[in-house]
Amino acid sequence: MAYLGNPPDTQKDMLAELGLTRHSELFRSIPESLRFKGDLNLPPAETEMDLVRHVRTLAKRNRPAGDTVSFLGGGVYDHFIPSAIDALTSRGEFLTCYTPYQAEASQGTLQILWEYQTMIAELTGMELANASLYDGASAVAEAAMMAAAVTRRRKVIVSQTLHPESLACLKTYLINTDLEPVTVPWKNGAADMETIAGLLDDETACVIAQTPNFFGVIEPMEKLSEMAHAIGALLVVSVDPISLGLLASPGEYEADIVVGEGQSLGLPMNMGGPSLGFLATRKKFARQIPGRLVGRTVDHHGKACFCLTLQTREQHIRREKATSNICTNEGLMTVRAMLYLSLVGAAGLKEVARLCAAKAHYLAEGLSQIKGFGVRYAAPFFKEFVLECDQDADRVLARVAKHGILGGVPMARFYPQMSNRLLVAVTEKRTRAELDAFIAAVSQ
């Protein structure tokens, strides 16, 4: 077997030095009755050459959105990825290192993480950020638990305009805790401010909202922020990081905890994973943050350096009293995000966001000209909108598919009553010709 360190003869010699003759004698401490007899029923071993052939054949059975004209969104988007990102993250020194517990042997990873923390804090307008969580959905759940720990309150008010999979994840996480999620149905595609106002009380730990929300609508965050803070609750926001090139940062409306899915920051779509959950917050909540944090310090000679810090919050020290159970996070994906933000810069990010918004609005306008079609919600949107059709959305998708277009995510996937609606996302990669082709295909 090619990945073993020693050829059979060396193995034999090593066994002999241990006074053994066969490998099976290495397992004497496993009771005979528990040993597996015979060979596992697994597919036969393949050489590298055969594996490449077989996996490439299977790969051809995929029809990736990246090869088509895709208007798919809903949390994962087909944004442009600068080529330097793949080149640098495939370096073995980043790919094959472990969590940087040994600071002196990990300054590369640690410095990048610290720079990443800075960039996420800047992007969200917050004071600090952690070194990543699994994904945007589980980050919402972590934020809710963090808000409860900060406020020592139990009620979690969630606008149902949150991504339905984030909402599902939140409910799964909280089901056996004493936290009580209260879901508030939307009104005109946005958070229902009146109902939320009525629910806010001195037991409320936080209000959770996503902006732009699942329908693409930009939520009235300043108002939500005022309402939550008036009663001593925190505002938890889930954001699309690309939108922050253009839209008000959560810091500007005084959010307390900001989370989101970082896939847009230089990660391939990869059918949804590996993903990148980010979390940013206020400095005063640093000790309640879930997950790893990198701090800058000095070495014994007074030289600036980096190390993991506040580890007493974490599971390997604090065990059942830890702020979270997370250990392995999304290390290499933070390198991608740090690289994306460095390569694109603030000016580039603004360009990307403007292009997305301009093209999305051009498409929405064009589609609205077609009889029987229109944008479902009147509220301002960023790069994504719900298209109301006069027929089943699947029929529209089938029609545009003939032109090599993936026309959007059918809303019935999440809400069966919305069978005539499509969630349409537009990134900077879509050209005017593609947008016009989509409009033409829909109107046929």
């Binding site: 990945y3 073993l4 360190g5 020693n6 193995q11 030095e17 241990l18 401490s29 697994l42 597919p43 036969p44 071993a45 594996l51 490439r56 990736p64 959105a65 990246g66 090869d67 949390g75 994962v76 640098l88 020194e93 980043f94 790919l95 094959t96 290192c97 472990y98 002196e104 990990s106 990873t109 720079e115 950020a129 990543s132 994840c169 799964t172 089901i175 899915e261 391939p268 779509m269 990869n270 059918m271 590996p274 701090g295 800058r296 310090t297 030289k303 980096f306 599971q315 059942e320 979270s324 159970n325 250990c327 999304e330 290499l332 994906m333 694109v344 810069g345 000016a347 051009y362 301002p380």
Partner: protein
């Protein structure tokens, strides 16, 4: 800091990536002014060359499996085959969107479905979910399933038992799932103390989380009895699969009576650690837990077509993350298992144990071996004798190893061993590396005898000396502030 911060390399107006001008007509601003950002983020303004150089220079500051021996116990730092990287990076995989129709994703779904089947066979358990993003996430998923299983039967059980030698994630995961933690003692052999376990078993116990082989590198010989005792009070056995590499193809948790376990693909199945992720933590479960597995499920229809199924599983605990899982990581795990086959899987365990056992026999006897049993894939030494005789701590030994180009073993864990040093060479290292490591340890012992101060100050060869972690926690400095810019 051998390399300046990227922020200090910033030059106003510099760009690496530019985007084409808008090709759609814009009649005025598309969004109302009050929704727009007022203060732009301060991101670096750098050329691509600066970014590439920055990262390349920083890469040299890392130890990695590719560049260093990395005997980090319980982390299984085995070699990461490059064919896995190449194949999982094919655009047909990376370009898939999670909400494409099943017919567009048949290649990926076929691979993931077959990975599930292989994991069932390896673990001896009939149900698998690939959704959890890491080992601790798998633990949490399984704990939520235990809770749901009892709730479904109208029972409310409050307690999860955890050995004193357990990974910290075990009690943390069980606590988030709403359980109270009760600790079970290890006996003088480093194994579960069955009497202590019996004394803690009652109708409030939902289950126990057990690592096997355990964190001392010892096989829990009574694991079958542990399962029986738990099942006797209606409780369940969870196996922390962090150490699965030791037993692949040799013995299967399902055959011990385990009800659930997780697999760390980034340990056992050769997917890269990436500096702390991305990993994946698939779980395997017994038949009665299958209805409670998270959604979506990957199912094969009668015609051989694969489906991603969200609905029709009313007892499912729901989602533990968005989308399907760490798909790109799981593809690598599949490639690895297909390269190995049944024989390769077993040889992996055999060589993981052989290398550990051999290295243990070669390590200097100046370190104590607190638990004498036959080690599996890893073993734990104690530096207590060096501390007593020369005032040299395990931390000093660890830092001195860095000077010799060796990543330190896991230190100060498990918590039940003083001055612990947990060593896991993995099956992918050759004998000469093991011999060299043992020789280096002996040289460090000699240094301890001759000049302990040299060890207290180690490492000497890295670009920084020991980081002041106390100061890092006291004077929190978690981000760049532009006040420091020149």
């Amino acid at each position: 800091m051998p390399e300046p911060l990227i922020f200090d390399k910033s030059q106003p107006g510099q760009r690496a990536v530019e985007f084409p001008p808008s090709d759609v007509p814009n009649a005025g601003p598309v969004l109302p002014e009050n929704l727009l950002r007022r203060k732009p983020p301060r991101l670096p303004e750098v050329a691509e060359r600066s970014v590439v150089r920055h990262l390349t220079i920083l890469s040299r500051e890392n130890f990695s499996v590719d560049t260093n021996f990395y005997p980090l116990g319980s982390c299984t730092m085995k070699y990461n085959p490059r064919v896995n990287e190449q194949l999982s990076g094919l655009p047909e995989f990376t370009g898939l969107h999670p909400y494409q129709f099943d017919e567009d994703c048949q290649g990926t779904l076929a691979i993931l479905w077959q990975l599930q089947e292989m994991l069932k066979e390896i673990t001896g358990l009939p149900g698998v979910s690939l959704q959890p993003a890491a080992g601790a996430h798998g633990e949490l998923t399984a704990m939520l399933m235990f809770a749901a299983w009892f709730r479904d039967r109208g029972e409310r059980r409050t307690t999860i038992l955890v050995p004193d030698s357990a990974h910290g994630t075990n009690p943390a995961s069980a606590a988030i799932a709403g359980f109270k933690i009760v600790q079970v003692r290890s006996n003088e052999h480093g194994l579960i103390d069955l009497d202590d376990l019996r004394s803690k078993l009652d109708a409030s116990v939902a289950g126990m989380m057990l690592t096997c082989p355990n964190t001392l590198g010892l096989f829990e010989t009574d694991v079958g009895e542990v399962a029986k005792l738990l099942h006797g009070v209606g409780a369940k056995l969870y196996i922390d699969g962090a150490n699965l590499n030791a037993i692949l193809g040799v013995t299967r948790p399902g055959d011990w009576g385990a009800d659930a376990l997780h697999i760390n693909t980034h340990k056992t199945l050769s997917t890269p650690h990436g500096g702390g992720g991305p990993g994946a933590g698939p779980i395997a479960v017994a038949a009665d837990l299958v209805p409670f597995l998270p959604v979506p499920r990957i199912e094969r229809g009668e015609t051989g077509v694969f489906h991603l199924v969200d609905t029709g599983h009313p007892k499912s605990i729901g989602r533990v993350r968005a989308f399907l899982g760490q798909t790109g990581v799981l593809l690598r795990a599949y490639c690895y298992l297909r390269r190995l086959g049944a024989r390769g899987v077993r040889e992996t365990a055999e060589n993981a144990v052989l290398n550990a056992r051999y290295l243990q026999s070669r390590c200097p006897k100046d370190f104590a071996t607190p638990y004498a049993g036959d080690c599996m894939h890893e073993f734990v030494l104690s530096g207590t004798p060096l501390k007593k005789a020369f005032g040299v701590r395990t931390l000093d030994v660890a830092k001195r190893l860095i000077d010799r180009g060796i990543h330190p073993p896991t230190v100060y864990f498990p918590l039940i061993v003083d001055e612990a040093m947990m060593i896991e060479p993995t099956e992918t290292e050759r004998r000469r590396t093991l011999d060299w490591f043992a020789d280096v340890l002996a040289e460090i012992v000699a240094e301890a005898k001759a000049d302990a101060d040299q060890l207290h100050d180690a490492p000497h060869t890295t670009s920084i000396s020991r980081a002041d972690e106390v100061r890092a926690a006291r004077d929190l400095d978690l981000r760049y502030t532009w006040d420091e810019a020149k």
